[in-house]
Symmetry: C2
Subunit: 427 residues, 2 copies
Amino acid sequence: MNPPFRIAIAGLGTVGSGVMKALAARGDELSRRAGRNLEIVAVSARDASKARGFAVKNWTADPLALAKGDADVVVELIGGDEGVARALVETALANKKHVVTANKALLAKHGKALAVLAEQNGVSLKFEAAAAGGIPIIKALRESLIAHGVEAVKGILNGTCNYILTEMEATGRPFADVLKDAQALGYAEADPTLDIGGGDTAHKLALLSSLAFGAAPDLSAIAVEGIAHITPDDIAFASEFGFRIKLLGVARRTAHGLDQRVHPAMVRARSPLANVNGAANGVLVDAGAAGPFFFSGRGAGEAPTASAVISDIVEAASGKLGPVFGQPAASLVNQKSAPHGAAVSPWYLRFEVLDLPGVLAEIAGHLADAGVSIESMIQRGRAPGEPVAIVMITHDTAQSGVERALKAIAASDKVRARPCMIPMEAA
Amino acid sequence: MNPPFRIAIAGLGTVGSGVMKALAARGDELSRRAGRNLEIVAVSARDASKARGFAVKNWTADPLALAKGDADVVVELIGGDEGVARALVETALANKKHVVTANKALLAKHGKALAVLAEQNGVSLKFEAAAAGGIPIIKALRESLIAHGVEAVKGILNGTCNYILTEMEATGRPFADVLKDAQALGYAEADPTLDIGGGDTAHKLALLSSLAFGAAPDLSAIAVEGIAHITPDDIAFASEFGFRIKLLGVARRTAHGLDQRVHPAMVRARSPLANVNGAANGVLVDAGAAGPFFFSGRGAGEAPTASAVISDIVEAASGKLGPVFGQPAASLVNQKSAPHGAAVSPWYLRFEVLDLPGVLAEIAGHLADAGVSIESMIQRGRAPGEPVAIVMITHDTAQSGVERALKAIAASDKVRARPCMIPMEAA
């Protein structure tokens, strides 16, 4: 038998507790899989005495001490893209300790530098838990779907947004109400900005994109739009057209560079992504000649995230190294980004207008001026005096053309609120 | 840079050709991922001069020579559970060469012994291509979904069957007609027995089951039923009840042992497995506390299967070892099997009966005698003189009870043909 594998865990929130419990419950089998005994030699958390349902031995107040002790791996579950988490990961790697982390924000911001540091020190930096929770999408992109080159990755990567959109569809209630309930139920944070604004999805997309395309993670290259402006009307109209609305992270190789975006999108009601419901996550990978592959499951929560962390720990224990992002970190480059607005698709457009003569002519005129051609249209009557929703589906159009038209239309005094535009995904 | 990784390929059929092409087209990136140059040093195929669209260098007539040469890895793509394929794999492992194979029949029959041999010799035996083609389900079960213990694996693992069932549903045509077309199109073999009889699915299930449950692959423990008896009526009735019919491989941990079965099953029309269409494959893994995870994609064909083979080659090249079935091969045991007939579910039953007085009373009587209680029933009129289809859905019932009732009913002279029974899956 090999010497034991010494594990230090920093952070005992939901995920850290899940890791402790699973190692306690199934340590024997997991040690057999790792080829050596898995031993927790140090734990750092804010409060050693908090009731957690398990005993905390070898507690230390200072997380940084874990990076300097005798652990073989440091499991960073503190979070945050700077501060203690960053210092802990950097110090651990520099001290030739493997690092396992669930920290998407840290890796989205400093992924390349940390990967270079890990590879220079001959240790691994693993982060299966940083995107899509228990779904092994990091490993699939890093090690499995590599033969033919990935063309695109599209993911539902934020369970909070997907829960809210699913609830809005099921109940017909507006965004703000459903968000409030989600907060009460613990599905959304007190400050939900990072989730509903799309930032969390962008962090995860940056990592998937790096693995798929050999790019350095680059948040600044991702255009981000959240879900707060989606209305029950949009969801109902989508359904009439045979679509559902999902917040997607999309990274795609194009002739003009790498196209990375986070935004609500219409997906065909029968497509795999459309049927990812509630707090679940799902990822569609277009693996070139090998075809599309789809993965779904629980993307957050104690057990699914702990499952991902533990798979990384076992892999580190069994001596599997390999480059952090699948290719040597030094070779990751800031790939050329596709120019903003180049993405071509049909678009769903919704205008809230005053029911006045000439309003349709004005909208149609601006669309024609921008070269946007309309495939179908719905106008629905409302109570007298209320604004009327006009909904259109365009033919294939570049985003920039639609944006130009909508800017002109938004300036009209017959149009209430900001017009809504949502791309319709082919798959 | 590490020394080059020397690859010997045995078999240049569809998959072997796909591997050669992908290595030729993307060898640079793949070498970067592997951390060393990937070099094909020997190839064995029946005919060196056949036109394949690529040049075959270093050809050798005798595949066994590959196991004795200077290759680091032998890629076995010959097929068959004995003969040359088995001799090649055994000799290569004994000579301390890594082996990558797509050979599900060989591993289902000799998996444990070969894994022991590989582990004794300190080399890897990798087989991602042996189940579900390009879907990285072998790796997911071996390395990722390990923290909480897998409760069940359910897979659509045979593209030919799934293509036939999908076509039957789309066109309403009978099994035999659709099979003939599938053969003409190359989706089914001239001798389709292994596919439509469920044997191929059983081979693959034996491997998934080993990875999920630490069992030695054991074909004899799998009850196998094919799809030849499924009629367009069954598919239409299933649809009325909100279900679709799929050939599933199911392995499940039960209180009475490991339950492994291959059979047509009704799956809810909105479930992920129900929406795996055409020649695609899909696998649902119930990963205990971590929840269900679903994987789908192309399960056969040149590029998807080559993708799986190449991921294994790159992994072997990068020095990742680890036990063949996730746990040390010597620890794989023949797990206790759940007794036949213990599986409990609702059942779809179809009887073709003569339209005579008393027939329903007779059927109902036999069902009652066996303790089978009926949840709903459809009887549909036909042209006079033709047999009538009676369809029933039972409440939760053990398979053995349904079988007992159907045996009695089949003996009636009012019943035409063998009654059909299909379990209805909860997910």
